[in-house]
Amino acid sequence: MTGVPTQPAGSEVRGTSSGAGRALVAVYGVFALAATARASVQLLTKFEQAPLAYLLSALAGVIYIVATITLARGTHTSRRIALIAIIIELVGVVSVGTLSVLYPEAFPRATVWSAYGIGYGFVPLILPIVGLAWLWHTRAS
């Protein structure tokens, strides 16, 4: 990245991986592992049964991995990537959640985001909101 650093490394920005951020990264890590493992199995063994649902599961897994790594790094650049990933995550869980309720026939197999993440205690819906709040809380000002 060629962006000029707007602050000395690690001084003014409160790291996204520090304090409560450690717990947030841990939750993202667990979801990255769970979603990616599940999606890999689904794509490898029964892709033809529900291609849309399984591709969405894989997308969710990738987004969780990106969010985990970028939040754990907490540099200026990785904060931006985290912001984009978490916004996609929020849009994904809200849109897939709504579509899966309105058109259940389009989602014959559950994804992480089906019915707003009901299969995972609605954590997939809450997580991006907490993530955005955390990025806001740790912003440089």
Partner: protein
Amino acid sequence: MIEALAYVVIALAGVAVIWGLVTAVANKPPGKAQLLFAAGVEIVTVVQSIIAAAKLVAGARPVELATTIAYLIGIVILIPIAWLWANVERSRFSGMVLAVAALGVLAMTLRLLVLWASAA
């Protein structure tokens, strides 16, 4: 899977979750006993995965074999990673990190029990 062992894992992981939350609420980093307990949970979890793997080799076939294998592998890496992550910066949130990992172990073991119950 040995059902009784799975319930031991679930119980131990449950204690680890509560312990992590308690130290987080009390605003303390995890103590030595807590870290050793987490290591104990990990050991029992590893034993469980090894026994289950042996049963798979011996011919046990849960309906979702691939998912079962993914879970048996994934479940053993949660606590070691959380342990490292919790110890890089020790604070009340280290306990939260351990609690999150233990909750993951608990949930995955429950799921494994369901998958295994379908084994022919």
